[in-house]
């Protein structure tokens, strides 16, 4: 591996020289230059919104890191390359990053096809691919340079199932899920856990991401006669389903996965998302200092804007990257090894985050049980709706 690594560096440097960039500065780690992370993610195309949210989270984290003295006195910065979350582009970006000696670690990509297509390149070149929205069960199996702070669905879905079945007492469930790798994996974990807790799954329906009309799906749900609806959705489709469920006259209790946790869910769903139950990884009113610092900082930086799940993942990921670089320095291999060494990094999602070296993921996401009351997310008070 070190062999390839050196070759990569040599080639990259030569290319950099040809391209007219200052080779000497990069090679002889000028301390005035910031330590550079590469980000591969969507800034245009159908997933562009998530890339924009990443940037907000990253920038806030970087401000705080700089205010705290940077990484051993050096600044931390990132170079964001737009992949449109398309595998063809993410592999080219991967080659660009691995052959750029200034890049010490890579963050992203957003979707599984784009991330996992690039994994072999990062693995061979020995540059950490740090995915933080990559819940595909095989993502970290790509090699020992693949690490992720994406919450394992094996971790999260049983918590949601416990909320729905044990706490809310829903015995017969209809599950609507996004028909992607994430939605499918989540659905399976949820269904298994719910059955274990004694619930019956009356119907499961998978829908594609572009879907906007759910009326006919909801008639199927109605005919199955469940006493609760479970949405494994993102906030935009989750809000649509809730609205249309109320429009076609479904009055059942709705529970949703943490991915709907966003102020946008309330805005897009309006009255229809009132009383929707959400199991989430964090909650703004959570008194933990990590959460409070994040929320206050975010609102201050972005004119009162409320952060959502994807802002949070990005913020946590950047802090984790900083913690790792602090230990590992600027050597790519040492950074990989540092992932196994970081302990208890303050994190909004996990509280204190430590990697499980066997899975290269973080275990133990926090869980708050929320309900939408009067157009706001509130901690569930234990009263049935």
């Amino acid at each position: 591996m070190s062999n390839i690594n050196r070759r990569t560096l040599v080639k990259g440097s030569l290319a950099a020289a040809i391209a007219g960039t200052a080779l000497s500065r990069a090679a002889f780690a000028d301390t005035a230059e910031p330590i550079l992370l590469g980000v591969s993610g969507p800034l245009t195309g159908p997933n562009a919104q998530y890339g924009t949210q990443w940037k907000q989270g990253f920038d806030l984290a970087l401000d705080e890191i700089l205010a705290a003295g940077g990484i051993n006195g050096r600044k931390l910065a990132y170079s964001f390359e737009d992949s449109q979350s398309d595998p063809r582009q993410s592999v080219a970006i991967a080659q660009k990053f691995v052959s750029d000696p200034r890049i010490v670690l890579e963050l992203g990509d957003f979707s599984s096809p784009a991330s996992m297509a690039a994994s072999p390149i990062y693995q061979r070149a020995g540059l950490v691919q740090f995915g933080f929205t990559n819940s595909h069960p095989d993502f970290t199996k790509g090699g020992d340079f693949m690490w992720s702070t994406s919450v394992s669905q094996a971790d999260e879905q049983p918590l949601l199932a416990a909320y729905a079945v044990k706490k809310l007492g829903l015995k017969k469930l209809a599950v609507l899920h996004l028909n992607t790798d994430w939605g499918r994996t989540s659905r399976d974990y949820f269904v298994n856990a719910a059955k274990e807790y004694g619930a019956e799954i009356a119907v499961t329906e998978g829908y594609i991401a572009e879907e906007r009309d759910f009326r006919s799906t909801l008639v199927r749900v109605r005919d199955a006669n469940p006493d609760g609806l479970v949405l494994i959705s993102y906030y935009s489709d989750g809000a649509l389903i809730a609205r249309q469920a109320r429009q076609v006259g479904l009055k059942q209790v709705i529970c949703a996965a943490s991915s709907v946790y966003s102020p946008k869910f309330l805005e897009l769903g309006g009255d229809a998302v009132e009383d929707v139950h959400v199991g989430t990884r964090y909650f703004p009113e959570d008194p933990r200092p990590e959460v409070q610092k994040f929320i206050t900082g975010f609102k201050k930086k972005y004119n009162g804007l409320e952060p959502d799940a994807f802002n949070t993942y990005a913020y946590d990921a950047m802090n984790m990257a900083a913690a790792v670089v602090k230990i590992g320095g600027t050597d790519r291999r040492a950074i990989r090894d540092a992932f196994a060494k970081v302990k208890d990094v303050p994190s909004v999602i996990f509280g204190r985050a430590t990697f499980d070296v066997a899975t290269r993921r973080v275990k133990g996401a926090m869980n708050a049980e929320l309900v939408v009351r009067k157009g706001h997310f509130a901690l569930w008070d234990g009263k049935p709706t």
Binding site: P113, M116, D181, R215
Partner: protein
Amino acid sequence: MSSWLDYTINGLIVGNVYALVAVGLALIFGVSRLINFAQGSIYLVGAYIGWVAVVQLHTPLPLTIIFVAVVAALVGLIIERFGLRPLQNSVRIAPLLATIGISFVLDQLVMLTFSPNPRALPSQLPDVRFQVGGGTIGPLDLLIAGVGITSALSLFVFLRYSKLGWAVRAASQDRDAAMQMGVDVNRVNQAVFGIAAALGGVSGLLVGMYYNQIDTAMSLQATLKGVVAEVVGGAGNVPGAVVGSLLLGLVESYGVAVFGTSYRNLFAFLLLVVVLVLRPNGLFASARQAPPEPLTGTFIAPSRPVRIPRWALLVAVAVFAILPLLPVSFYVLQTLINAWLLGMLALSLTLVAGTIGQVSLGHAALLAIGAYTSALLSLTFSVPVGLAIIAGGLMSAALGTILISPSFRLRGHYVSIATLAIGEIVSLVILNWESVTRGPIGISGIPPLSLFGYDLISASSVYWFSFVVMVVLALLQARLLSSHLGRSFRAIRDDDIAARAYGLSLNRYKSLAFIFGGFAAGVSGGIAAHLYSYINHETFNTQQSILALTVVILGGLGNVLGAVVGSVALVGLPELFRVAAEYRILIYGIVLLLLVRFRPQGLLGTI
């Protein structure tokens, strides 16, 4: 039983929504014989203008509608004047490509102005619901139906009974004759684009209110569904577009009722293919309608292909062949690998679209078939990767040709729409056929490229491998084109009636072209699968098909070298503009428009 009433009502409601887009598309097709891929973008613009009116200016509903209609109409007029009018005398497919470029530009402008985050667009109608069957209907549903049906009816009356309407129809029947009769064809076009754009804008507004949600990704879906609805009804037929939309809504709704939600779009596209096979001009095509014109053939601009001297070609091949030995970065190599893979797809498409005149908008399906075949063979049955890729090519050739064969009897734009549908169907089958394709989870851990037991994992070896494969395919295709067979292909493209009279069997030759093309595309997909190591149903999508078509037009239809040059250009352009981040798709769209405008026969000309 009551559920069926609900499914019917739901189908009609969503059909209503589709009708709003389809009517505008039908109107434009009626006059310019053009499928306007920018209609979805005007719909997007309308939705965001509506958001500005409702949320920022707090206009009352009637004023909101007028405001949106006026702004959207202006956008339509600008598109017509500066995007399409200069292309009047160029290749028939140039305006189609221009509308794709315009849609890139518009979508991106909206995204840059409003950010890609979805926004709520509150309905300005009272929130009361009337109980119908087991569900409810609201005032907005009725307004959408009202707007859809009223606009279709008034357009019908306008076209049939007003003087300008006659002019519109005359211009659509025969442009030159209409001009000789004193019709100001440009004015007609302006009027039509203005009306269609106003309609498109208002539909974006209403649909946004209906879902209380607008986002910048809504335009492509709207275009796709609108096109399906329009073609089902009979392209260019305004009332037909409404009926087609309602039918599409119903079929989707019943499809969900019987098979479940994940099959929804499958039924939409199957409906399209079935209608096209049974009634090639749509359900409401009148017998007197002029037959659709082929997209290529007699409409190919008289161009002289650029002759590249043989020594220059050899030098170019040699330079590219030794590139990995020179100090170039892996990033450059990877970008060129992407270009070679796209080049194989473009070779395939330039053969079927350029040489034999079957413009395909679903070519990514061939990539997907090759990729899945190769990935599954090597993973499940441990077939050596080299053989698996060849098997992928053969499978694409066989299955692709069988799937596309129903479109052989279609002509003109209908071929491209049918292939678009087939592309979507393949993607949806991959999503749903879980026992074989692993559905949404996709296939991971695909073994890397290897040859004779040696893994090709370094960028240089992958580069050489894909380059050699592409060069071999290109040489074979060049040989094919200069043979008797190639001349027969071009004869069919140029005049299929004459070719048939001369004794050529159209279906057999079209099949041959698709078999050869399918093989090249399948090989490209197979190599991509082993390069990425993970694929799912979204890896090879409609955007990829559109990109391939762009490459082919850019290089010059039917031009083998053009396909390769076009691939390098179109893979390279976005990479060059990578520094521009959010702006690069905008720049790409503008470059595309300029190319179509100033070099419609392609960089190297049509062969």
